[in-house]
Symmetry: none
Subunit: 155 residues, 2 copies
């Protein structure tokens, strides 16, 4: 239930050449408190409710609980969410032995592209593709919960 993820900025569109899939994601929050974030997500036709706790270990690990819900439940719950529903395309990009999830944002966060890689332990090594920029792991400004309140275009 503890996930280890490292997050990076992406400074070019080159990642799209190696993308194997893309998914439209709409997501909103029933709570943006970092100690108990409650997220509703609709991924194409699959809905999810996800609860995350506060970060520990300098942002490397964070409690996460997720349950699948129907598309209509997700739509009903998105309607209750706080202002600032996120709209993005998530691209999956295989690089070496890992798969990066690259989020290309639209709307008020247009221009922002962020890549995440999930690791099995904090010191695991991974191949860094050319399009990978500065690491922003643990930087709260790039949490989706923050991006819905303070969108990238307002920075």
């Amino acid at each position: 239930m503890i996930e280890i993820e490292r997050k990076f900025l992406v400074h070019s569109q080159q990642f799209k050449t190696d993308a194997t899939s893309k998914t439209r994601i709409k997501q909103g929050f029933l709570n943006t408190d970092k100690a108990r974030t409650v997220r509703i997500r609709l991924q194409d036709t699959n809905g999810f409710i996800t609860v995350k706790g506060a970060s520990s270990d300098n942002g490397l690990s964070r409690f996460e609980w997720e349950k699948e819900i129907s598309k209509s439940d997700a739509e009903a719950l998105l309607a209750l969410c706080e202002v600032g529903v996120i709209d993005k395309i998530r691209h999956r990009v295989a690089v070496g032995n890992h798969v990066f999830e690259v989020d290309e944002f639209f709307g008020e966060n247009a221009g922002l592209i962020v890549a995440e890689v999930e690791l099995s332990h904090p010191n695991e090594t991974f191949e860094k593709p050319k399009w990978l920029g500065k690491e922003v792991t643990g930087d709260v400004r790039y949490y989706n919960s923050q991006l819905s309140k303070q969108p990238y275009t307002t920075w």
Copy 2:
């Protein structure tokens, strides 16, 4: 339907002799905002996550979505809840023609035991067992919502 309930303090553990069932209840909130309340409840081994929206139609209708979750998921989520998780055992105790619900509190409300009896009209008589103490019907301090904010041990 109007429900008529009378509430009393309980000053001894004697009620346990006549208890026919008991249920451990833990309940907390991931969000107490009335526009998007998120409640976690664990009733013995059954967990629930419940989302409620704002009331409409003068309080007659309120969006409610509930999903059953595992005991271990409920416990993990309760650990993330806002301060003031209620932890109690609800005992059912038959006395004459009535059933008392006796709530024995733990945690920050340890030491408090409260009994409720439901009546079909305000003047209905009922047998008062020896363990029944002072009546506290209508005293807001004993509402569960208040006990989570101002627990008994802080009085």
